[in-house]
Amino acid sequence: MITIDELVGAHPFAAGLSDEHLALVAGCAQNVAFDAGAMLCAEGESADTFFLLRRGHVSIEVHQAGRGPIVIETVGSGNAVGWSWLVAPYRWTFDARALEPVGALAIDGACLRAKSFEDPALGFALLSRVTQELLGRLQSTRIRLLDLYGEHRG
């Protein structure tokens, strides 16, 4: 049987973590599954968890009354969903919905924050990884804002 430590260790987010830090992260993690259409988190709710996606795709959405959900981005296996757990006031800014059956590792944010205060090296290791994920998403968003495929009449 695969242990939670092995599942966390196999995720790209955990690449390069020491065994000690891996065990600390795994101690805050549980293996979860979502049916297609299920919400992983909802805007405004307490951001007490973040997710490391193992399989399936998730849409990051914002809801508009009368229009329904507007998909901002989709993320999949290997990505992390949610960084609001790291920054006060710890509330989700967007919705996240499973587009298909999703397997993920749910990490207790409060648990990780507490361990990071006790072990700043763990905090730095986690922050580096979250920043890397953030940077990738920020760069992707910036390029999309350029509207590269748009109409550029000569």
Partner: protein, 284 residues
């Protein structure tokens, strides 16, 4: 007395051959695919990735990539985006109309008769799938001969701007991995939303043994190539399609110069190692 330049000129490169539009299809609101047959029954010999100069008679001439597979005995396919006077006239062409064709010109993707056993990754942005369509057709057909897997990764601004949807479905059915994503979602779209680079890591190709062909806006090609290299792809295995103001098609007029290259002759398909330097060259 004829000058040296006239003596060297390949006649076929200067004189348009007249073609008739035998079919047309609106790909998107501003993109049209034309099926063309020559009036004299001649058949163009070309390679995937090359382009023709298409003339809307009385309006002007413009470079447009060939979208047909070289092995396809049917009409010549050109997909045109309506962005100016000439392309507007071409996009407005109806069945039976006659247009001029000069070509083929430029370098090709190097896939014709080169069905390698390694994976081939095609990355297209927007109408960038048009210059790659012929190559994909060739690669998908070659799979039965033991060639490597074909991955077609397509990005577009919005779902209704994805082109060649029927072809993508056909390639998928034939065993290719076909993934698409859009920059902006729309009602009814249940697919991926994000930059085309987000398709790379989960596509499933062998980054250490593959070749990659990219066509799209230059910024998209730069970021895609960088993401591929981060995944482990050898920069020497990446090719991009560059475009400038192609006019003569023969490397004479210099309008398409990019650094040391005349892209109508030395391009449009250029190795990424060389193209990377040129794409990052700032205008002076």
């Amino acid at each position: 007395m004829a000058s040296a330049i006239e003596l060297d000129a390949p006649r076929s490169g200067l004189t348009p051959v007249l073609y008739r539009v035998v079919a047309r299809r609106n790909e998107t609101a501003d993109v049209v695919t034309l099926w063309l047959e020559s009036l004299d029954g001649s058949r163009l010999s070309f390679q995937s990735g090359q382009f023709n100069m298409l003339s809307a008679i009385g309006v002007g001439e413009v470079a447009v990539s060939i979208s047909t597979s070289p092995s396809d005995p049917g009409p010549l396919l050109h997909t045109v985006r309506d962005v100016g006077a000439v392309t507007h006239a071409l996009c407005s062409s109806g069945v039976g109309d006659v247009i001029g064709v000069r070509g083929p010109f430029g370098t090709d993707w190097g896939v014709t008769g080169n069905a390698a056993a390694i994976d081939t990754v095609i990355v297209a942005g927007g109408i960038g799938l048009a210059p790659l369509r012929g190559a994909v057709e060739e690669l998908v057909a070659a799979r039965s001969d033991g060639a490597g897997q074909v991955f077609v990764l397509v990005g577009a601004r919005e779902p209704d701007q994805l082109v060649f949807l029927d072809d993508m479905a056909k390639w998928k059915k034939a065993g290719a991995v076909v993934l698409s994503t859009v920059d902006r979602s729309a009602p009814g779209w249940s697919g991926r939303v994000g930059l085309v680079t987000t398709l790379l890591s989960s596509a499933g190709f062998d980054a250490h043994h593959c070749r990659v062909l990219i066509c799209g806006p230059e910024i998209m090609m730069r970021f895609t190539a960088r993401a591929l290299i981060e995944l482990g792809v050898d920069p020497a295995s990446i090719w991009v399609s560059l475009e400038r103001n192609m006019q003569c098609g023969l490397g004479w007029c210099g309008h398409c110069q990019l650094g040391p290259l005349l892209l109508c002759r030395d391009g449009p398909v250029v190795g990424y190692v060389e193209a990377n330097v040129l794409m990052n060259e700032r205008e002076r």
